[in-house]
């Protein structure tokens, strides 16, 4: 396989030579072992690796120290895969990117995928098996598991709880487990359940099908409480498709139109051309009204149903003009529309959306339907938390096995699972962190991180990825499949052996297997869509009667949290400090409410409210959210955890108010607590002020077509007394950021943090306005208070050609490079901070303390070795990822391969789901970035200051429906 190595091995017969044919996999285990040994020296509590450590006396042929290697693998969230590519330096993963070959990624990644990296090195990870808090051996837990899964008992009293599973290997294991232990009870638990979407498809089509959207084929998109650009299993791909239809470069270009009907302002709502804020319970009624209008126009609905829908509309239809205009727009674009529903909406709304899409001919065009890759999709195991509760309460559970789901915390408190789990005579918990469930379970088994695991997983369209490890488990964790193997009574084998033997039937030869590993996807593993099934109409009464009674005073809308999801990322320092794209809140959650309701209740942001729902109380600070529906409150899940983690004690636990996983909207009453709490918000609700057009240029498509001009003022070159720098290199780096594509999702913020070793500063740091993010997303609120618009503008160093920071530095620590970079020389910086004062964009960040002093091992392993870790007292800022530029230039020189446009991608650009950020050589007329700079929409922020920024923005355009103008 590697003849070069074979020949070298002949030179020396020493036994210390590396194994002859060193495959990459073996190398990884060696590299990982090296790391494990290093961490053992630091931490002193990991097992000695079995493998022999071998120095690079003879360098393996595919390893060059200092040159990163990249491996494709996949991460899984709520059962669905996103393909990732992990960068590794000498066996140490340092960066996660999206896998361009993966249909749910298309090369992009979200903040969650990016932040898996810091989770790997979290010092709080579980480091060994414990039984009732005392360390135990792996053999002991294996024996206990074998006892629990004794085949003679047929699994009586044995309950297994795990997140929804798409993994073919685990699905196979579960099938065999059921055969072996017929009495075994399975429970699939995801707090952000998709149950209503299952049921909606069942109601409409009689089968639990997944809806697949291809937004490239949709000219009119309607989101019914659906955060379709920022949440859900394929949101990265959907956001790309959506943005591709909005990259207007000339006045003749077409653009799609997005309508969003939602309760709180979401990332998708902020991108909408038309947005209607409704409390959750009114969305079914709205959907009914829309269906009624469409049925009127295109027919195809049962007459009885039409009458029902009409009756339901009368008297309450205050949004008639909106509904009519939307309906006409949808009808005009028959076959080129898409109506999508958020997962928390009741099944009938999903069914109605299916009906709408079928009636409008969108099914088969932008939308298609396919079976789900999730194991037992739509089955009772997905809705069995109450059954589990009953079983626990009635002592019918003898052994409870919880796999990778923080059941005690992330479940409705009303179910009292935290207490009931403790009552189980025997319990096992496979987890990464010491959390509430770990405290309640007897056996706690460390789980291997995804970057330490061999596994398989499937995207929402069924595309299968083999999950390959980047290093051996740091703390001897095991994978889910290894745990299940114990229940199956199999002799313990490595996760790799399990996976390889399972896949041997499909990926027969080594080449096919290696190809799947290399690409990160298994060829043609996607599930084919089915022909759109016949519509059923038996759900009409459910839609009409759906939702809480109309006299409801206030309703509470429980949502996923953009930073910690359902609590899954609750200890992740990068995500804890990631400002919410809409509210800019960090380090906690707060109950969102609209400005009018806030006025009525006489509360302001930071005032603590006492929410009461169904006898449960929760104290939570208020946060006024522009564009929030009146008569409703929004609270995100995943905060307010007790215990020891980094996120513990921050925010309020919304699970305390949850009744069951169903029916997220619930009646609630509000009282004012005398307390106030300071919320770590990075930007308040701010407008652009009178100086709007010098900061951000925006217009409508219609206006642009009429005038053909946008932001002319912002393109004019300001007068200057000074010539531009004559010492110019052939290449001149620059960036464009398309505000029409940017959703503000903040994936780039975490990508930048990971790439550039940016430290988190903690809640106090944020309160003092000392965030270190090199790239922030500015968020402005414009428009009327009733119909506000959110504008986002990613803001990092603009690399001004005439940089105000440079001439004020007394030590020449910030200087210009000949290829147009505004460079920061950390070694030369004494920290006067004059540069920050003089930066009109305020993108410079100062190390107020030594932020790395308190770091616990092995956190330091996360750092990118190509980027300096800055010491106390120096200034830092965006470098345009200069390390990537220089690496590419060195490669160009040494490999004699000319650099092409797009070869260098900055971390933010690479992560961006919508490709809003483009980087390249502005001196090259053919480069994409030059083309975009020359477009009508290009403008410079604060152009009149004469800084001549290298980063240009492309103006924001909206495409309002003329009928609703």
């Amino acid at each position: 396989m590697h003849p070069t190595l074979d020949s070298t091995s002949k030179l020396d017969s020493d036994r210390d030579l590396p194994p002859a044919a060193l495959s990459r996999r073996q190398f990884m285990s060696l590299g990982g072992a090296t790391l494990a040994l290093a961490s053992q020296a630091l931490a002193g509590c990991t097992r000695a690796p079995r493998e022999k450590i071998v120095p690079y006396r003879v360098q393996p042929p595919d390893v060059v120290p200092g040159r990163a290697a990249h491996y494709a693998t996949a991460s899984t969230l709520d059962g669905f895969a996103t393909g990732i590519v992990v960068e590794s330096h000498e066996g140490r993963p340092t960066k996660i990117e999206g896998n361009p070959e993966h249909p749910s990624s298309l090369g992009a990644s979200s903040a969650f995928e990016q932040a898996l990296l810091i989770e790997l090195y979290d010092p709080a990870r579980l480091r060994g098996v414990t039984h009732r808090g005392r360390p135990e051996s792996d053999a002991a837990v294996d024996a206990a598991l074998a006892r629990a899964a004794d085949v003679k008992r047929a699994g009586r009293g044995l309950h297994v709880v795990m997140p929804p599973v798409s993994s073919p290997l685990i699905a196979d294991q579960l099938r065999r487990l059921r055969e072996r232990l017929p009495e075994l009870r399975l429970h699939f638990h995801a707090p952000l359940t998709r149950l209503e979407a299952f049921r909606g498809a069942q109601l409409a089509f009689g089968a639990a099908l997944e809806t697949r959207a291809d937004l490239r084929r949709a000219k009119v998109i309607v989101g019914l409480d659906a955060d379709l650009l920022a949440a859900g299993p394929a949101h990265l791909a959907r956001a790309r498709e959506f943005a591709d239809q909005r990259r207007v470069t000339s006045a003749t270009d077409e653009m799609n139109r997005l309508y969003v009907i939602e309760t709180t302002m979401s990332v998708t709502g902020a991108m909408a051309d038309h947005r209607l804020a409704l409390p959750p319970s009114e969305i079914p009624r709205f959907t009914g009204a829309l269906l009624h209008e469409i049925a009127d126009a295109v027919g195809g609905v049962e007459p009885g149903m039409i009458a029902q829908l009409a009756a339901n509309r009368s008297g309450v239809d205050s949004h008639a003009p909106f509904v009519r205009a939307l309906a006409r727009d949808l009808v005009r674009h028959r076959g080129a529309g898409a109506v999508l529903v958020g997962e928390q909406q009741p099944a009938a709304v999903h069914a109605a959306a299916h009906a709408l899409n079928v009636l409008l001919g969108n099914s088969g065009a932008a939308l298609s339907y396919a079976p789900s890759p999730i194991f037992a999709y739509g089955g009772p195991e997905h809705d069995s938390l109450a059954a589990l509760r009953d079983a626990l309460a009635s002592r019918a559970v003898e052994t409870l096995i919880i796999v990778d789901t923080n059941l005690a915390y992330a479940s409705p408190r009303a179910l009292e699972l935290a207490q009931l789990i403790q009552a189980a005579p025997e319990s096992f918990y496979l987890a990464q962190f010491e959390d509430a469930t770990a405290a309640a379970c007897r056996w706690v088994i460390p789980r291997a991180h995804v970057l330490e695991s061999w596994a398989d997983t499937r995207a929402v369209d069924g595309t299968t990825s083999i999950v390959q490890p980047l290093l051996t488990p740091l703390y001897g964790g095991r994978t889910d499949s290894q745990l299940l193997a114990g229940l199956l009574g199999e002799t313990p084998v490595s996760a790799y052996e399990q996976l390889r033997s399972f896949w041997r039937s499909e990926l027969k030869d080594e080449d096919a297997w290696e190809l799947a590993l290399t690409r990160g996807v298994v060829d043609s593993s996607a599930i084919a869509p089915v022909t759109t099934p016949e519509l059923r109409w038996n759900w009409a009464s459910e839609l009409v009667a759906g939702g809480p009674p109309p006299h409801l005073e206030l309703e509470l809308n429980l949502r996923r949290d953009p930073s910690v999801h359902d609590g899954r990322f609750g200890d992740n320092p990068w995500l804890l400090e990631l400002p919410c794209p809409v509210t800019k809140l960090t380090w906690g959650n707060a109950v969102g409410l609209g400005p009018e309701l806030a006025k009525r209740l006489q509360v302001e942001t930071g005032d603590v409210l006492v929410l009461e729902a169904d006898g449960q109380h929760l104290e939570v600070p208020a946060l006024v959210v522009p564009g929030h529906a009146d008569r409703a409150l929004t609270l995100t899940l995943g905060w307010g955890r007790s215990g020891v983690g980094l996120g513990a004690g921050h925010g309020s636990n919304a699970y305390a108010l949850m009744k069951s996983t169903l029916g997220w909207a619930m009646p609630v009453t509000v009282a004012r607590s005398p307390r106030t709490e300071e919320l770590a918000v990075t930007q308040g609700v701010i407008g652009l002020g009178e100086l709007e057009s010098s900061i951000l240029v925006q217009s409508t498509l219609g206006e642009y077509r009429k005038t053909g001009q946008l932001g002319r003022e912002q393109r004019r070159k300001p007068l200057s007394l000074y010539d531009s720098d004559a010492r110019r290199a052939a290449r001149q780096w620059g960036m464009t950021i398309d505000l029409n594509a940017c959703t503000g999702c903040s994936a780039c913020v975490i990508a930048c943090q990971a790439e550039n070793n940016v430290p988190p500063v903690g809640k106090n740091g944020v309160l003092k306005h000392r965030e270190m993010h090199w790239l922030r997303i500015d968020r402005y609120v414009t428009g009327s208070p009733r119909a506000p618009r959110i504008l986002v503008q990613p803001m990092a160093c603009q690399h001004c050609e005439k940089a105000p920071c440079e001439y004020v530095c007394p030590t020449a620590a910030t200087v210009h490079s000949s290829d147009g970079l505004n460079q920061m020389v950390y070694n030369r910086c004494v920290g006067t901070r004059f540069c920050s004062n003089n930066c009109p964009y305020k993108v410079r960040r100062f190390n107020w303390f030594d932020y790395h002093q308190a770091e616990q091992s092995p956190t330091e392993l996360v750092y990118n070795p190509e980027v300096t870790v800055r010491e106390r007292g120096v200034m830092e800022k965006c470098t345009y990822c200069v390390q990537r530029i220089r690496r590419a230039e060195i490669h160009e020189r040494t490999a004699h391969e000319p650099l092409r446009d797009g070869d260098i991608r900055t971390a933010c650009e690479q992560a961006c789901p919508t490709r809003a950020i483009r980087f390249g050589d502005v001196a090259d007329q053919h480069a994409e970035v030059s083309r975009l700079r020359a477009s009508d929409r290009s403008f410079a922020a604060l152009n009149e200051l004469g800084t001549v920024p290298r980063t240009r923005y492309l103006a924001k355009l909206t495409n309002p429906n003329p009928e609703l103008a």
Partner: protein, 466 residues
Amino acid sequence: MSSVGALPAGGLPLEPLPAPADERELLTGATDERALTAELLGKILQPPKWLGPAIVVTGAISSVLVFSVGYTLVTGIGVWGNDIPVAWAFAITNFVWWIGIGHAGTFISAFLLLFEQKWRTSINRFAEGMTLFALVQAGLFPLLHMGRPWFFYWLVPYPSTMAVWPQFRSSLTWDVAAVSTYLIVSVLFFYLGLLPDLAALRDFASERWRRRIYGIFALGWYGSAAAWRRHRIAYGLLAGLAAPLVVSVHSIVSMDFAIGILPGWHSTIFPPYFVAGAIYSGFAMVLTLLIPARRWYKLEHVVTTAHLDKMAKMLLVTGLVVSYSYAVETYAAWVGGDAFERRMQLAVRPFGPIGSIFWTVIACNCGTPLLLWSRRVRRSAATLFVLSLFIQVGMWLERFMLIVSSQSADFLPSSAHGYQPSIIDGAILVGTLGFFSFLFLVFLRFVPFIPVSELKALNHDLRARP
């Protein structure tokens, strides 16, 4: 006293003219030169009883400075309240304020000497001492507020092995040159003027050790005509050097802001405006120190009401210049057409989050001096003392307002953020006040703070005239 000693300070020998009435007011009471020497030097050799405890108390307050500076150096300036965007706040405010206070000393010593103002005689030593100690406080801040103060010398042009010079386009490197020059010239000027009095103390003191120490510092001064002649020439030359420094130092300090592009900073009026402000606050500080000292040292016949009156007039003039500068700044913003500048001057400063500070500044710095049109106010020591405190508070707040408001709301609304000082910020300010007082009291204890020889010359001059 020889006739050389009778020369008016720095002046040429002229025909004696009748001394004007207000000059006669400059020295009242004892007219015998021997008695003057005995009285003034006696105050150094037998200090008043309150001085010892006062030195101990201010020394204790200085230890607050030592602690808070030490804490800052060990931990990092994150212990201050600064943030992004407000990266400069208390430290730079304190720096500008203390430097400004330091201006009055040199102004009195050098400018008034060159302009042959006799009233400088009794107070110049006092003011020079104040200048030096204010400079010590001021010099602390540029060092301390760096992120890595241990590399402060990188701002100094020296032949470094790294072959990197300071970046001379930055006003911070100009600052280093301006402030260090000013400090050196001020020390020389102070010491040169002090020589004859140190010699007098050496001769006057009875204990051997005192004579020894003062003798060493007197550098062998024995009061010959030749020595006096050279002393006069050197003193005049130094005055000529120091006078432009009064103007240049604060002009350059003002450029720390004026070369920036921030709205409210980027302004050509800053140099004269800052110089006037500096002299304004400096004179206020002289009054603050002098009024109690003259009373407790029973020096009303040496530092007379006429002195107070003249200093009050200086306050009035500089106060009006400062007020005029405020008006011009605002007016220029209004007609200037720069929307960001207009917002800063017309909205953020007067009506923004720190609007109350703006109006306090206007009241203290523009309102207070107007009272000085009244002769009664100018000649009332107690009133002047209170007014001088108001002016100093006003000038500190002016710098704070100017520095913080521009940073806290510059161009992008997204980066606007306020500033909240930390307890360490406050401790450092209080600590420098304590340390300044401590140094000043030590100065009163050991150094002839009224220039005895010059005063005797004045006495001689006044008596020689009809």
